[in-house]
Symmetry: none
């Protein structure tokens, strides 16, 4: 293996477009949401807490985004049987709660998005709307 490798990163322009589309979807379905977007290292790129959203959902949305960015898969794919042990071992970082999806574009894993405050279905719908807005895989 070489000492460096090429990759791609999500820009703030991309992250803010995701927020915009996520908020628009949340308003459409009438469910205020917390939306968090992290990069491939789990560091926050952008986030918003809508009026009426549960403020503690900021924390769970961050965990969802980090889980998806770290594993490269949806949070719901974390096997049920290992969830308590993995949550404990990662200080709550890994969660199986629905609403976390990886951000994949141009063949690269760019990070993750986590959405929280609604039902699992609503959280996922908002995350998918955000992914579609930048042409990412859904």
């Amino acid at each position: 293996m070489h000492y460096t490798a090429a990759t791609r990163i999500l820009t703030h322009t991309g992250a803010m477009e995701m927020l915009r589309a996520g908020v628009a979807k949340a308003e459409e379905i009438g469910q205020p949401q917390c939306i968090v977007i992290v990069d491939a290292a789990g560091e926050v790129l952008a986030e918003v807490r809508m009026i009426g959203a549960k403020f503690l959902s900021r924390k769970s949305a961050l965990a969802k985004a980090m889980t998806a960015a770290s594993t490269g898969g949806a949070t719901v794919l974390i096997p049920e049987v290992v969830r308590p042990a993995i949550a404990a071992a990662t200080d709550g970082g890994i969660t199986g709660l629905p609403g976390g999806l990886p951000i994949r574009l141009d063949g690269h894993l760019l990070g993750g998005i986590g959405v929280g405050s609604g039902t699992g279905e609503q959280d996922i719908a908002v995350a998918e709307a955000a992914l579609r807005a930048i042409g990412a895989e859904v």
Copy 2:
């Protein structure tokens, strides 16, 4: 949506009246309590730890108050099946322990009250007495 929106906040006069009434109820039933009141963003407005109360109940009372303020509902309404996962993803912020109630008055969610140290029934009784003292919904 506009850039700002009207709301109402709980004053310290209201928070201290809640403490007073909560302590009176706790003394009436003979169960010392920790009582914590937070605003709509989860920031502490007032709290008291009664002589004889469990000092670690300060922490659980805070989690109860934050859960109720964040969700707008009683802590016991958090579905049993998701409690462990949500607690882990929010660093213990969301709890299903009884004794956390939202503070609703004049049509606004003003925050939450959390009570801990007694049985679930005693904790709820003290929280309700505090809510009634300011004319909040019970």
Copy 3:
């Protein structure tokens, strides 16, 4: 004093417009920035980390935003002589670093904005651009 009082809050529409204008200003001056917006209780409403910004500036931008929201004034107004002591006593929450400004609109203190990654002048310029975008006091 009554149990409740009227106030106004910043909506996510307002917070996102602030992010948009702040990013536009940062791009105009060629200095990537971290921008954090908190409500009147210090809870994060929205944030963005621009490509090329210092990632640790997320933390200082948050402290700037919280300082401005808590004190109702610009961070640079914290007297130099008390800065070390106040920073220590608030776990780094209060900072005198330039780039934190209160968000005042319609006669209410709605929160604070913190910007970090550039020079003090650049940070303040971006914060002011964000405030102007929603018609807040500068």
Copy 4:
């Protein structure tokens, strides 16, 4: 020395009377305050954050109360020259900021009170009013 020793503790009735008197004094001088009361072990007994007080002053008021309870003296008695080192070594627990006073009554050190959000003089005036309300040394 015997295995146990007699002491006295501050009750919640005493702590709440201190809050009441402190708030009354703060309203009289027109400066909203954060007031924190801790016991002789530094554990919070009661606190209140008045409408209009700086929310980050909750943290500094706690540090002031803990410093006074731990040292048995006013916070301003911490020698200037050692303040930075002691603050660093106690994780911000020890502070020389004005507004922290010990609670002494019946010949016992019962804890400490910390007040923050005003000038040093205002903070001390509110703390002294609270002490006088329960007949504690000033």
